[in-house]
């Protein structure tokens, strides 16, 4: 139990941030917090409302960790309204009459949607765009109208600002048409100028949204059934509608404060000072319901300043005085997929300011930088269509911009952009208010050298993530300064990354390591670059892993096509496609295991692993397996390992597709495919997902209509769920998508990089990968397909090939001068009916001290 009680009125994003900030810093447990929210949900991400449709449900929008609300010091009351504040008694009265006493009261009531008092505004079919419930009701309305009218539902959005464009996107994603009606002469009038607005209009109309500007809506006219049916405008024109969404602005919800006698700003919002205090020292106000001194007592409708106010207030209550210095109104948005950003003095209000403008009617982009009159110092900027320079330039406001400013707005590559060094005080992450200086401090003083770790210890990039490229750049720069190797070089022998080397080898058409290192490297190679080159050669030419000079390139596992274990012996894994095996083959495996005394275990990937085989035994073991019709399972390779499957519709009561058949088809297609790291695949016959396919690099899950393909999953050290690539696809589409996904991965991933991090770091992420492999945005699909075809045409069982080749078989001897003598140091003990390597203590009893023979 804390000694003081904080009541927070409002349970939106800023309230969540306040509670999180307080609980993170209140180590002694001084405060108990009670949060009062009128919505039915815990705080959710209102900024991402449009994404509600692409996610499973409201729970996917919830903010932060549920643990915050499970914390005993925190109480969250949902579906609860505060109706009055009694400042003398220091209580908040709830709708049911209960009075909550507080030591400190934090107002975080946010704002409400505001619509002009037009005739017809209350008709059914007219909606506001503000809450999760608003969006859910819109969706229900569109669905029910759709069923009746039998044509696309006609939607109109009144208001062409940020929320209006988001609402238009929401309507489109529900299957309705959308017309945006804006009173001002352009869209996003707060963020962009006239030319920027024109560019934005052009880009948005390309996406099928109609835009009408300089037009006032005067009335919503009912249809015969009394629903919204027609919009009437100031120019006398009309438009037929089935649904109307008002996004005409927000008003601070300051009524509780106003009624309690707190000062309210002229344009709404509870008046607070630089520490977010009202005139009553026990009451603070944060977020959109507050009008802060630093913002000229105007409420700001952005999340970043709200978060800062939440932090300032939480820290002040804990005794650490901080000041809210006013909003950074820089914004970067993606509206219907179109980038819009502005920062600093975007409208060139500074006397003498110069504007540098680039406008490209073909791509539709518009970019502008605002500079001081001597063109030396950056004042602000505006981007429509392409905001790639935003993250780097925004923190440079007020600083000298080296070089020619136009290099930042010309298309990338048109002019060299100078390197920027951010001042320490520049804000890098505006969501969490993290400066370049604090990131540098973490890297240099706290020794954080990893991006993930840097994110968690500075919180930079953990909210919207738009600053991550910049955070990564600072990390790389600082590490470089400290002399810590951050180069892409593979090792001391090759300056290139794996991806670069892959292209170089392919273009040069080289086939041997000696030619490759002579042409592109130095020295004699090492255990890093040799296996990498071996893997690249296998990926490009698909020759045998032991062909030509390649045996010496391979890690021992690939060199002898088995998995080395801790005592230097190997394990053997025959391929069992899809995990399906006949009793006859099972008996062959059992006999081999018995005859060679191999420890036998079922693997996690539905295969059988036979342990304890000595080097010289491997050909004998494989001769038996190959004679029985089995082949290498590539358990040793950086290649396809297994395709795991459930039993599927052939037996299962619930299966909807033949998952075993699909798994076998995939395994036989991709067997032996060499890649930067191992590849695992899973196939499930229904949504119950018994094969755990979403934990695999490629997961195929049956649906009633076909198959869903998920990519980039990973078990292991950092588990990741695979992401949806294609939906309800037929078998050929599934194969084509996986073919290309794997080939793109093989060509562009780094050494030992699994698909999950590759996909996350691929420029543009999975969306970009999808464009490359499904829409052929790079024009390389035919190439990728040809490569997979080459793999299929040239596949051979590696083990069978070795058994047929006396030269290669020579490598499988224990001693060059005693080919069939077993390694005398091996020692085993029996456990649970099988043998296992002896522990050091057991060895002493069995073969004497291990170190004896070396000391003679």
């Amino acid at each position: 139990m804390g000694t003081e009680k904080i009541v927070v009125v409002g349970a939106g994003m800023v309230a969540q941030r306040f509670v999180q900030s307080l609980r993170t810093s209140d180590a002694e447990g001084r405060f108990d917090v009670e949060v009062i929210g009128e919505e039915a949900y815990a705080p959710y991400d209102r900024v991402a409302l449009t994404s509600f449709f692409s996610k499973a449900g409201p729970e996917d929008l919830l903010l932060g960790d549920q643990a915050l609300w499970d914390d005993p010091a925190v109480t969250l009351r949902r579906d609860t309204r505060a109706v009055a504040i009694d400042r003398d008694a220091a209580t908040v009265t709830l709708a049911d009459g209960e009075a909550l006493a507080y030591d400190h009261l934090v107002m975080a009531t946010g704002s409400s949607a505001w619509a002009p008092p037009l005739p017809g505004i209350d008709l059914p079919g007219v909606f506001m765009y503000r809450t999760l419930d608003d969006v859910a009701r819109m969706r229900d309305w569109v669905r029910s109208r759709q069923a009746i009218v039998g044509r696309p539902v006609r939607g109109a959005v009144i208001g062409g600002g940020l929320l209006g464009l988001e609402a238009a996107g929401a309507l489109q994603s529900m299957g309705a048409t959308a017309t945006v009606v804006e009173f001002a002469d352009r869209l996003m009038a707060l963020q962009v100028d006239k030319s920027g607005g024109e560019a934005l209009k052009g880009l948005i109309e390309r996406l099928g949204v109609k835009v009408r500007t300089s037009l006032a809506t005067t009335e919503v006219v009912a249809d015969a059934e009394g629903r919204a049916g027609t919009l009437r405008f100031s120019d006398g024109s009309e438009q037929l509608v089935d649904i109307v969404v008002f996004a005409t602005g927000i008003r601070p919800r300051d009524e509780l404060g106003r009624e309690a006698g707190l000062a309210v700003a002229e344009r709404g919002g509870i008046v607070v000072d630089d520490a977010c205090r009202t005139a009553d020292p026990r009451i603070s106000a944060i977020g959109e319901c507050a009008a802060a001194a630093a913002d000229g007592h105007v409420s700001i409708g952005l999340i970043a300043p709200g978060n800062t106010m939440a932090d300032v207030t939480a820290h002040r209550l804990l005794g650490r005085e901080e000041a809210y210095l006013g909003a950074d109104t820089a914004t970067k948005l993606k509206l219907l997929g179109v980038d819009v950003a502005s920062f600093g003095d975007a409208f060139a209000a500074t006397p003498g300011a110069l504007e540098v403008v680039y406008s490209d009617p073909f791509s539709g982009s518009y970019k502008k930088l605002v500079m001081t009159d001597d063109a030396s110092t950056l004042l602000g900027g505006m981007f429509v269509g392409d905001a790639s320079a935003f993250a780097q330039l925004r923190p440079m406001v007020g600083a000298a911009l080296p070089g020619d400013p136009s290099s930042w707005i010309l298309p990338e590559g048109a002019a060299a952009r100078p390197e920027l060094e951010l001042p320490d005080e520049a804000t890098v992450c505006s969501c969490n208010n993290v400066t370049a200086g604090s990131i540098r401090h973490a890297v240099n003083e706290d020794g954080v050298h990893d991006l993930g770790e840097l994110k968690s210890c500075t919180t930079a990039g953990t909210a919207c993530g738009s600053c991550l490229p910049l955070v990564k750049k600072i990390l790389t720069t600082e590490l470089g300064k400290a002399g810590i190797e951050v180069s892409q070089a593979l090792c001391e022998h090759f300056e290139m990354s794996r991806t670069q080397l892959f292209s170089a080898i392919q273009v040069a058409g080289l086939t041997t390591f000696s030619d490759i290192i002579e042409r592109f490297g130095t020295g004699h190679g090492c255990d890093i670059c040799k296996p990498t080159v071996g893997s690249i050669l296998a990926s490009i030419y698909n020759g045998h892993v032991l062909a030509e000079d390649r045996a010496a390139l391979q890690d021992t596992n690939d060199r002898v096509m088995a998995n080395m274990q801790k005592d230097g012996t190997y394990s053997v894994v025959p391929r069992i496609p899809g995990g399906e095996i006949t009793p006859d083959k099972l008996m062959v495996i059992a006999e081999v295991a018995k005859d060679f005394g191999l420890y036998t275990k079922i693997t996690g990937g539905q295969r059988i692993d036979l342990f304890g085989a000595r080097l010289e035994q491997l050909p004998h073991i494989w001769q038996r397996l190959v004679d029985a019709g089995m082949e290498s399972g590539h358990a040793y390779g950086k290649s396809l390992r297994t395709v795991k499957s459930c039993v599927g519709s052939t037996w299962c009561r619930y299966g909807v597709q033949d998952s075993v058949g699909m798994a076998i088809r995939l395994e036989e297609r991709y067997r032996g495919l060499r890649s930067p790291h191992k590849i695992k695949v899973g196939v499930s016959g229904c949504a119950r997902e018994c094969a755990e396919a979403r934990g695999k690099d490629v997961g195929v899950i049956a649906t009633e209509k076909g198959w869903n393909v998920y990519v980039g999953g990973n078990g292991g050290f950092s588990p990741v769920h695979a992401q949806l690539l294609v939906e309800d696809a037929d078998e050929d589409t599934v194969i084509r998508a996986i073919d290309r996904y794997l080939m793109l991965y093989i060509r562009t991933a780094d050494r030992l990089q699994r698909t999950a991090p590759w996909q996350a770091e691929y420029e543009g992420g999975l969306d970009a990968i999808r464009e490359v492999i499904l829409e052929d945005s790079l024009g390389i699909c035919a190439d990728l397909d040809a490569h997979m075809l080459h793999h299929l045409d040239t596949y051979e069982d590696e083990w069978k090939a070795v058994l047929d080749d006396p030269e290669r078989l020579k490598q499988f001897t224990s001693f060059v001068n005693a080919p069939e003598t077993a390694d005398p140091s091996l020692a085993y003990v029996e456990e649970r009916g099988q043998r296992r390597p002896a522990t050091p203590a057991e060895r002493v009893a069995l073969v004497g001290s291990a170190s004896l023979e070396e000391t003679r």
Partner: protein, 124 residues
């Protein structure tokens, strides 16, 4: 740890039996030796025991170079050793198994009449 043993020279295989950069193990008077022929034609011999795993596997490692020094990497935990001195150049932040030094013993090796000869001269 040093005890003198009588010097002996043992032929283990023909030079032409060795594939460049692919090691072999040899059993020399009860001692396991890893023998390497490098791409420059030189031949090197070190102990086959990997001190970091206690397994006799060095012959199955990958040869290479660090600067000018020819090297062999353990196939188990990837430590890198000089083929000239046996010195462990990269420990991979691990310590050798109890009872073992981190460095490898190096055995003089010569090629005589096409035969590879290992000299056990009491080094270790």
């Amino acid at each position: 740890m040093t005890t003198l043993a009588p010097a002996s020279a043992v032929a283990v295989c023909a030079y032409d039996d060795l594939t460049p950069d692919l090691g072999v193990a040899a059993l020399v008077e009860g001692i396991q030796v890893a023998v390497f022929r490098l791409d420059d034609g030189s031949v090197h011999a070190v102990q086959n025991l990997d001190p970091f795993s206690d397994a006799h596997v060095m012959s199955r490692g990958i040869t290479g170079s660090r600067g000018e020094v020819p090297t062999i990497a353990s196939p188990i935990y990837k430590q890198v050793f000089s083929l000239l001195t046996g010195q462990c150049l990269v420990t991979m932040d691990k310590a050798p198994q109890a009872g073992h030094a981190a460095d490898l013993a190096v055995y003089p090796v010569s090629v005589d009449n096409g035969q590879v000869i290992i000299h056990l001269v009491g080094t270790a």
